[in-house]
Symmetry: C2
């Protein structure tokens, strides 16, 4: 039996079905399916992906018999529509589209109105009584076909159109009449001939085969090849070609076209939702020149109400489809119900009504907001449409982010001044301030402020805490501002290089010259990275209700746990509320910036000898202990990993001379002593300098103080009957013996203290894996470590050799040139850094079966990375509190996708 190349759909029966995506592509399979379940789909046929494969295997020759099959199917479409391809009296026109099994930008776009020529135009005019529509259809076809199928220069056609409008003194295409368009058609053909050296093809069949060639040709164009390479799309045969009879929504007042959703894609509400225009084509709905009308009377009245339109005016100018074409509306309602039950998901549909008859042109799963995704998933489970597993798989993890932060109430006027990095999500409104001190002062006075800085440093912590949002001109997604803002759950737009900040004038300027001065209200959207001129209204996140239900279902499937990065009791509490089952990273350095301790910290740093250092540390110890007591109490029954001091000491010293003088005064030394110390501590590459475990190897007394404080705190809380599970983490170790020195030190303190207090407590001692050397020798290190926590920020910096503070300069180019698909500081570079992580886990478990393994870098809350972590066998991921639900969803999805 000869192979089948072409699949017909029409008259309520299709040769394909939705399971045949591989053969027919996504679009073809869906058109077939809709036809089969009785939807009014304009008839047509799909040339299978197999033909594409054979075409390339056979040196761009089509298989024998294809032409005959196409001809045969053309006839079936003619029969079904009662029209004839190329017949001026009753012309059948086609749309031609590509469509592979995977969605793939870069392949050929749609060609509409195929089959038209001078004679056919006349026939259409006769039939439609609408010469403008006919000539405009022809004009559009020539332009589309020449460009898309024949590779003509787009600009030359645009030029003709522009000249015609200029000559007539009009601005819009719609202002051109039939004669104008007819003249343009003539000129277009001349352009074509000049470019291609041949007449524009008049023969509909010739047009059709050019279009089919173009679709198959587009499968191997550079963009499509690159797209498949980058997205690792393999194993596809090729693209299919969909040839479908045209229907027209612009054939008069009984015609219309629209787009609708089975549920509201913004809120998830179970109402029919959509827009249409009478006497219009699909592109007019999105062009925004006419105001689209609503589907249902209810929606239409709501809309009029919101926009201050009287019921009379609404009825007259913007009647709903329910009122305007009640029969079609009823049909559409039936389609809505049927498709949703059939596809078991919210559908996004396109329809056209031609002279009172409804046609369905497309259905697909609809895109939706995070709130809608959760609501629809929960509703559908409760309606019995889907099960919980399906519901959990229906929500994109990153979509949850929208639910966890304040949002701008939709529909407000917003002037975008500039766009930066969406560094920490959420909407923030406040008065502009330009120093941390002012932020703090105004914050204390109860004012809402946004802190605007070129970049932030650890000294700004208090000001950042007082602000409702943070805007910086420099720094990437893992800059200080971004990291701290995420930790605090505050919206942040970072690295917004478009604005020019003037500290002296206390103002910033946007690229178009808008100036925001100290005290001016403005808004930032940390979810989109936008800086907005207006003082917008916001709404708070809703963590109970559907979201709460959804998160409980997640817990049923999750295996790899999710902890949070939290430094303070308040953050620890929030983390638990958001579902964290432990703390994966409690940084101790942020603690040292608070008023009651920064002076002692600085004393310690400028100390000239161990004895003075120990004196300063003795002042810090009780304060540190207090911090840990607070956290341990919040995290009863949950593990808490506390990391010993990590950053270089110079970060704690003041940068401004004024503050240096204050410090000198309070220490009773000359300011030059402080400046000399700052000079001594200067490093060329602080990232690779004296920090992490290196600090406590050089100054073991710092580690001693911190370990003492941790153990004392644990004993105190335990004595109150609270179950405390502390783990001590040593950062930046690269060698077993380096870690050994610290572990020996810790063990001695722990053993002595627990013995003296007569308390039984097992404190795990582990290390971060963030230096490549540690990963490479993980088998050695695991012999003495109870746990590994991958610090993938630093591990990425060192493995790729990218300074996260500087890489902004070239990483954008790298992503643009497809060297990296995503910024490796946001999405873990699985192929490189991930290989090292995988290797380290395998090596580590060879020598320590019980090794507890997690990740605490910024990647720990990124869904793809979370799934990777589960795949390589981590025990947990840890991320900032607001990312915990996202990570949990990703972790659950990994189990369900396995």
């Amino acid at each position: 039996m000869a192979e089948k190349y072409v699949y017909f759909f029409g008259d309520g029966k299709a040769e394909g079905k939705k399971e045949m995506k591989n053969e027919l592509g996504g679009k073809g399979a869906n058109l077939a399916e809709m036809t089969n379940i009785g939807m009014p789909v304009p008839p047509g046929f799909t040339i299978s992906t197999n033909v594409c494969d054979l075409y390339y295997k056979n040196n761009r020759q089509y298989p024998k018999g294809l032409k005959e099959e196409v001809d045969e199917n053309l006839k079936r479409v003619e029969k079904s529509t009662g029209m004839t391809f190329g017949d001026p009296d009753n012309p059948l026109l086609f749309s031609v589209r590509s469509g592979a099994a995977a969605s793939m930008p870069g392949m050929m776009d749609t060609i509409l109105n195929l089959g038209i020529n001078e004679k056919v135009v006349e026939g259409i005019i006769k039939k439609s009584n609408n010469p403008r529509f006919a000539w405009d259809s022809y004009r559009r076809f020539i332009q589309m076909f020449s460009n898309v199928a024949m590779n003509c220069q787009h600009e030359d056609f645009e030029h003709v159109l522009d000249e015609a409008k200029k000559k007539k003194g009009v601005v819009n295409d719609t202002d051109l009449n039939a004669d104008d368009l007819k003249a343009i058609v003539t000129e277009y053909k001349m352009v074509y001939k000049k470019q291609k050296g041949a007449d524009f093809p008049d023969d509909p069949r010739e047009q059709l085969w050019h279009a089919i060639n173009a679709v198959f040709g587009s499968w191997m164009n550079d963009r499509a090849i690159a797209y498949r390479k980058i997205h690792d799309i393999k194993g596809l045969l090729g693209t299919a070609v969909n040839v479908q009879s045209m229907v027209f929504g612009n054939m008069g007042d009984s015609s219309a076209t629209g787009v609708c959703f089975t549920r509201n894609p913004s809120t998830g509400d179970n109402h029919f939702y959509g827009e249409f225009l009478v006497n219009a084509q699909g592109e007019d709905v999105v062009a925004g020149i006419r105001t689209p009308q609503k589907m249902s009377l209810w929606e239409s009245q709501n809309w009029a109400n919101d926009n201050g339109i009287s019921e009379d005016e609404r009825k007259k100018k913007y009647p709903s489809l329910e009122e305007k074409m009640p029969d079609c509306y009823k049909q559409l309602c039936a389609v809505r119900e049927k498709l949703e039950k059939y596809y078991k998901d919210m559908q996004d549909m396109e329809f056209t009504i031609q002279e009172g008859k409804l046609y369905m042109l497309q259905t697909r799963n609809g895109k939706r907001t995070g709130a809608a995704a959760v609501k629809i998933a929960v509703d559908m489970v409760e309606e019995g449409l889907i099960d919980k597993k399906t519901a959990v798989l229906r929500v994109e993890p990153m979509q949850l982010d929208q639910l966890l932060h304040p949002m701008f109430i939709p529909g407000q006027k917003r002037t975008v001044l500039a766009k930066g990095l969406n560094a920490s999500p959420g909407a923030s409104v406040g008065k502009a301030v330009f120093t941390a001190e002012e932020a703090e002062k105004m914050g204390e006075d109860g004012e809402k402020v946004i802190l605007v800085r070129i970049e932030t440093s650890p000294e700004d912590i208090k000001g950042m805490n007082a602000a409702t949002g943070i805007l910086t001109a420099r720094g990437g997604a893992t800059s200080h501002a971004a990291v701290v803002a995420r930790q605090m759950g505050k919206p942040c737009v970072a690295g917004c290089g478009q604005i020019i900040i003037d500290y002296k004038k206390k103002e910033f300027k946007s690229p178009n010259g808008n100036i925001i001065k100290q005290g001016d209200w403005f808004s930032i959207d940390g979810t989109t990275g936008e800086v907005i001129k207006e003082k917008l209204e916001t709404q708070d996140p809703q963590l109970a209700g559907d979201f709460g239900k959804f998160m409980k279902w997640i817990d049923e499937f999750i295996k790899m746990k999710v902890r949070a990065n939290a430094d303070k009791p308040k953050e620890a509490k929030l983390a638990r509320e958001l579902g964290a089952v432990g703390i994966g990273l409690c940084r101790t350095e942020h603690m040292f910036f608070e008023e009651d301790r920064i002076l002692s910290m600085r004393k310690m740093i400028v100390a000239e000898n161990e004895s003075d250092r120990r004196k300063a540390l003795a002042e810090l110890q009780p304060i540190q202990k207090g911090d840990f007591v607070g956290i341990f109490k919040e995290m009863a029954d949950c593990p808490v990993i506390i990391r010993l001091l990590d950053p270089p000491l110079h970060e704690f010293l003041p940068h401004e001379e004024k503050e240096q003088k204050e410090l000198a005064k309070s220490l009773g030394v000359d300011v030059t002593v402080i400046q000399q110390k700052i000079h001594e501590l200067h490093e060329f590459n602080p990232m690779l300098g004296l920090r992490g475990v290196r600090l406590t190897i050089v100054y073991p007394e710092i580690a001693e103080m911190q370990i003492n404080a941790i153990v004392d705190a644990a004993i105190e809380v335990k004595k109150q009957g609270i179950n405390v599970i502390p783990e001590i983490m040593i950062p930046l170790a690269g060698k077993k013996y380096e870690l050994q020195l610290m572990i020996d030190l810790a063990k001695k303190i722990i053993d002595d203290k627990l013995k003296a207090a007569n308390i039984d407590l097992h404190i795990l001692l582990g290390t971060m894996i963030e230096v490549p050397r540690a990963a490479l020798t993980a088998d050695e290190i695991a012999q003495i470590a109870d746990f590994f926590s991958f610090g993938t920020n630093d591990l990425t910096q060192m493995t790729c050799g990218f300074s996260r503070d500087d890489a902004g300069k070239f990483l954008k180019v790298y992503v643009d040139k497809n060297i990296y698909e995503k910024d490796p500081f946001q999405v873990l570079d699985q192929e490189g850094v991930g290989k090292l992580v995988d290797m380290a886990i395998k090596l580590g478990r060879t020598t320590n079966k019980n090794l507890e393994i997690g990740i605490c870098g910024e990647h720990g809350g990124e869904p793809n990375t979370v799934k990777f972590c589960a795949k390589v066998g981590m025990n947990y991921v840890s991320c900032s509190p607001f990312r915990v639900p996202i990570a949990k969803l990703a972790s659950a999805q990994f189990e369900l996708e396995k």
Copy 2:
């Protein structure tokens, strides 16, 4: 048969032999061997290492029968010497020493004079007629025994001695007489009793067993354990104990003691060489209080001549052994000849003459200078004593360094002002200058100058080139100054933190207050790191003669090749002369600092757009081409790897405002434009910033210019009939596709140019492996790379997370605490970085069998690393020209040691 624990030596026959190192330790085996070949060795016995093993296996109990064996051997020694252990009338005294199969500091030192007590002292006085000698022997024994064998506090004994001298008003021990010493003995015993709670042991046998216990105990002390751990010494049973009868060189005028070498250890000359003192003990020879006398008349006369001593005075005060004790001298000459023929190596011997009778106490292979090592090896081959393989194995690779650089003529008075890192070897003498400009100016005037800087930057290149040596206060062995100095072959002392440089006053100060001002003569020794006050005399290296012969032999055994890092024709020439077979790294960046091009380079950097950048590059291209033509000509028939631009662009911009203004003026822009550009280019961690391939990904036109220049140069040289083998190297790549973009660019240029010129030339295109990610994905990268060159400087920085510019602050502590045995920037960290190198080579060869692999980091000239590179299968190492002979020797030795 019962196991044998104790091995006797004496009376011309020993139970052991030199092959029994494992059982008897190095010392014991050598004493046995010397006895066997008829040397006059004082009799004694060795308790085997096996006893040590059993002692620890059996909870510190000795095996049954040991006591009896020791007693039996004591009797044999008594019989042989005719003296009796513990007999006051004819006392036999012993020395007790430890000695394992491997030399191991940290174990027990020698105890001399064992067997002495109040009664024995009296016997010695009677026999020797020298009460001071007898009491001093007793005093020394108590102090040594208490401290070494019984773990008493050393300080308390020193205190007694100091008090006695103070009381008597003298400074030296030698000023104390017999009565003083007798009184001290009494006090010593009180100290002992106070500390140990028991009387000092009088019984010689008790003393002996305490000493044996102490030796075995020292095998497991912390220092010895740590030493074995660090040096990876495994598989030894334990230490042996050598108990040997004492002989005394201080029994009057017919007694003497000395140290001698079979050849001159400084020059290698085949003359008997050594020193002795009449009526003295071993320690007196090294104490420096008396002037030692020479062995031979010839040597003695030379010495007197050099020191302005008349023949009369010499004969009277410093007669040679040849004159003073002609019989013993003749005996020693026979020993010299016999031992050297027997051991086939230059021997270092200790002897004692007791009342006219010669005793040999030790022989071992003698330490020697590099010059001596080469001369002795070459001479011995020519004398037929050893073969060439042995000769090649006899010289420590690093010893060659001494031969390759100017040296200070020995014997000059030198005041060491300070000590820094021995960053680039050789001796340098010059006037101090403190800026590169002054160095250049004075250099042009023909003055010899040493450039003294806190640290150097690429702007200082010309000044460094004009100087004879470089001294910096900051920076490690791979700092800019060090790397450039080695490259230039100029002596450099770097990171000399002890000196304080004052640029304003144009002077530097040493810790003891010496000040060297601008224009003052001084000297630096780059081989030792010393800064010397005097203007010393130097001598040039001798590369012909023995050295030349030796290097030829090396070529017979070498497999892994040695190339050189060279940037200029002059360096390339030197590299060939020193034996390099190619250039492994030609950096193009140093070229850009020269006067005729730095302005164009800076224009390129400050250009605002690609077109301006291309204009500036067009100026550079012919100059670059000229550079390459020069190098290709020098390196006819040899491969030359040229690396594309690597350092961050800001390195090329001027740091001083004056220069910035000049630049602004010559570019016709405002100085703020320059300053703004410098500000924009600033990076927090330049090491991990916009450099290497990242530069040419962002600005491909830079790579285009360089590749054009390389190919044009190759074509020009090839057309002259010279065989040119260029290879183009892309630095810092981390990902296959990143490299692909550059390789595609290069291939296009190469193909076009070669086609146009009708020239057949294969230009290899490869990459440096210096980012851990590249090593991890080496299989991917090798698919498109023709060669890998490991840049182990950067690879170490990123793998260990150490900034080489900053690590000085903590790496010293790390080495002190034994976390790293050696600075990983000097000796490759084989366990960590080396693991990655090994992995990358294996991965790379899985996808590209023909991959050419080398190393071009600073480690490429370090012998241990060179052997490692050979082990993991590299094709070549590349190092600075002066290290080429060292690397060649290490490479040859690797083959011979296999």
